[in-house]
């Protein structure tokens, strides 16, 4: 036991101290937060927009109200001269609305130095549209107030399960897809790390030195567990950094800015201010309804279970590789194929979490870590009954004990085998033979 611990420590420390680990671990959350924040900073960047409006039909005067930092000023000027002089006059851009027929709006042009930002564009469009619509309604004899009274906004609330929990299919889809995909990436990335580690030991010829001190099984498990801790450490740091940076930003810019960030994301989808606000409100409501502790617990379970299940197999593959790196590719194939299949099953399952494909996929340990994570956000025990979750977890535990047992047998022979290409048939023999 003590020896495994020493091995775990080495495997962990050598990896955590690597520059590449430190860089990716620190940079990724920064990138993530930057992706969230930079657009907000750009939008709320305090750069006031002073827009000169050349309205040739004199129709929009008073109808384009200032909003936030955007100010509209109607000017009587020749567009061709203003086009060239607006920066000198202190404007950030010129909105040119040519003489128009109310039934056939002309193309409206905005002159600016750089690209106009998307929010400004949609704001302007909305204002111009509203003005034209109002005019048309007036011409058609429709009372605007009456129309507003007729409009409704329907929102279907989904109450799932006996406790009638407020759920959201969209959010469940998002979490399920995200979690499943994350586990898929973890399995492949950390599986490869394990495989490379074993290959390194074999090629450096240190394997034989090592197993004259420790059992092959200890060496293999030490590596697998050490790398698992590396993965967990990375996650922990990411979560702490993301949450930390996020809180810091809220403190610096106030909650409005972060809300605005979400709104801008939602707006990109709906293109409508009110709808975006509604979406954010809804999302916040539903987010509070999600049992995060439970989902995180399940995620950690399937992350570790899936990792242990596949890492042992990757270790076995690593032990079979000889000098030729091409070997590694053809030998990894049988191990990566089920992982890749799982991601396809997951994509189907997250759309239809009760299909028999999804149920079976979330039971069989080859795919359950990825597929089950796609189903769990839809609700336990609503979509995934307790017995299914329990069985899936039990099978995964049995599965990784099984793969570890098989892998250990392959590993202890493979790690000492040099210069010989191994066939799958031989490997199968190692597994069945006693001792």
């Amino acid at each position: 036991m003590n020896k495994i611990w020493i091995i775990i420590k080495r495997e962990y420390l050598t990896r955590v101290k690597k520059k590449s680990f430190i860089v990716t671990t620190l940079l990724l959350p920064l990138l993530f937060v930057a992706m969230l924040v930079v657009p907000v900073l750009i939008m709320s960047g305090g750069d006031s927009e002073k827009v000169a409006v050349v309205d040739e039909s004199q129709f929009f005067e008073g109808k384009l109200a200032d909003e936030g930092e955007t100010h509209y000023k109607f000017v009587q000027a020749n567009i061709d001269t203003l086009k060239n002089t607006y920066t000198k006059l202190g404007y950030t851009g010129v909105l040119h609305i040519p003489k128009m027929d109310i039934n056939r709006p002309p193309s409206i042009i905005y002159y600016s130095k750089g690209q106009m930002n998307i929010i400004l564009k949609s704001n302007m469009e909305k204002k111009v549209e509203a003005a034209i619509e109002d005019k048309r309604m007036e011409l058609a004899g429709i009372d605007k107030a009456k129309l507003e009274g007729i409009r409704v906004n329907v929102d279907i609330v989904n109450l799932a399960g006996k406790e009638e929990k407020k759920g959201s299919a969209g959010l469940a889809y998002g979490i399920g897809y995200g979690a499943g995909f994350l586990i898929y990436i973890i399995l492949l990335v950390f599986g490869t790390v394990v495989m490379r580690g074993v290959m390194e030991e074999k090629m450096n010829r240190i394997a034989e030195v090592m197993i004259s001190s420790v059992k092959p099984f200890q060496l293999m498990m030490g590596k697998i567990i050490g790398i698992a801790f590396v993965g967990l450490t990375q996650f922990l740091i990411w979560i702490v950094l993301i949450v930390g940076l996020y809180t810091l930003l809220i403190m610096l810019f106030g909650p409005e800015a972060t809300d605005a960030a979400m709104k801008s994301n939602a707006m990109a989808n709906s293109g409508n201010n009110a709808a975006a606000e509604e979406a954010v409100k809804q999302m916040m409501g539903v987010m509070e309804g999600v049992n995060w502790t439970f989902i995180i617990f399940c995620f950690l379970f399937y992350f570790l279970g899936g990792y242990l299940f596949y890492a042992a197999l990757f270790a076995a593959v690593g032990s079979l590789v000889n000098e030729d790196p091409n070997d590694a590719q053809s030998l990894t194939f049988p191990v990566t194929i089920p992982v890749i299949f799982s991601i396809f099953i997951m994509i189907a399952s997250v759309r239809n979490p009760n299909s028999s494909l999804a149920v079976w996929g979330s039971m069989i340990p080859f795919s359950s870590p990825i597929v089950m994570m796609a189903r769990i956000p839809y609700g336990v025990p609503g979509t995934v009954p307790y017995w299914q979750l329990g069985l899936s977890m039990a099978l995964l535990i049995a599965g990784f004990i099984g793969t570890t047992w098989v892998a250990a047998k392959i590993y202890r022979t493979g790690i000492l085998l040099y210069g010989k290409k191994v066939t799958l048939k031989e490997v199968a023999k190692w597994v069945v033979r006693k001792n």
């Binding site: 020493i6 450096n204 240190i206 030195v209």
Partner: protein, 305 residues
């Protein structure tokens, strides 16, 4: 007292018998040569002694007790032929790691590292990565990490390959000193001149079987061809050389290699020349080198198969 007793060890692979009923004993404190051509089963044998493989049949006794790999590998140091170190690790860390895996506490290990690094004059390398060292330097580090835990049994597979003469000597001296202090050493090699220089016992294996074993001196006696080298003052004429006591194998100028005939004694050769009044300048028995024994014995067993 034997440190190691092997009794009827067998290890079969799917296609061939790597070790086929081999028994021998290694006395405590001896330097023991394990010899054999490529593919003779040496590595398999060593892997069984180091607990890496389990024998299919037979028994191993270590230090008087039945060999228990989990316990006894702490008292064994093994430097395999296929050796290596973690390239990205620093020298000091690497040696510490291997020592800890042999059961040394961190403090003990650090003390020993101090001692050995000083002795081998490599203290300044401690913070270098293994990959920055030359092959010979790596070999030194490897040797130190093998003997750090002061093993009762030290197994060295081709320990001098890749070493320059100075470092070879350094390690050879260390081997002698350890043997003097009671460490038993198994030394596996193809370099026969080193075997004669270093080993006091040898065992020769071929095709998974033991061909012979015993003390080096004894083996040389057992395989002597009764050859003698004799140097004469004057060139004898052919009539003077005719005798039933010996046959001339080779001659060069006034030096002869002769083979003593059956039923004759060494002194018969000398008295023959004295009788003819020829002055003898030197007279020396030619013992076979281990190399010659090795080649003849391996050829013989190969032919028998």
């Amino acid at each position: 007292m034997n440190v190691l007793d092997l009794q009827h060890l067998k290890k079969h692979y799917a296609t061939h018998k790597a070790v086929d009923d081999i028994s021998f004993s290694i006395p405590k404190g001896s330097i023991f040569g394990l010899l054999g051509p490529n593919g003779a089963g040496k590595t398999t044998l060593l892997r069984m002694i180091t607990g890496i493989f389990y024998p299919d049949a037979g028994e191993i006794f270590f230090d008087g007790k039945r060999f228990d790999p989990t316990q006894d590998i702490q008292s064994i140091g093994y430097m395999p032929e296929e050796r290596g170190l973690y390239k990205k690790m620093k020298v000091g860390e690497q040696v510490l790691y291997l020592a800890q895996l042999k059961g040394l506490s961190k403090k003990d290990a650090l003390d020993k590292i101090d001692y050995w690094f000083n002795k081998f004059e490599i203290t300044s390398w401690s913070n270098k990565k293994i990959e920055e060292l030359s092959k010979g330097m790596q070999q030194k580090v490897q040797f130190i990490s093998t003997i750090m835990h002061h093993p009762k049994l030290l197994i060295l597979d081709e320990p001098f390959s890749g070493l320059d003469p100075i470092n070879s000597q350094l390690i050879q001296d260390e081997i002698f000193e350890m043997a003097k202090n009671g460490t038993t050493i198994i030394f596996s090699t193809h370099r026969m001149e080193q075997v004669e220089e270093i080993c006091d016992h040898i065992v020769l294996v071929n095709k998974g079987r033991k061909i012979l074993d015993g003390p080096v001196k004894q083996i040389k006696q057992d395989f002597k061809q009764h050859l003698f080298r004799i140097g004469l003052e004057t060139q004898p004429n052919p009539a003077q050389m005719a005798t039933h006591h010996f046959t001339i194998i080779q001659n060069h100028d006034k030096a002869y290699t002769v083979k003593l005939n059956e039923f004759s004694q060494t002194n018969d050769i000398l008295s023959h020349f004295i009788h003819h009044g020829i002055q003898v300048n030197f007279f020396k028995e030619i013992l076979p080198t281990i190399n010659e024994v090795f080649i003849s014995q391996v050829k013989m067993t190969d032919m028998a198969n």
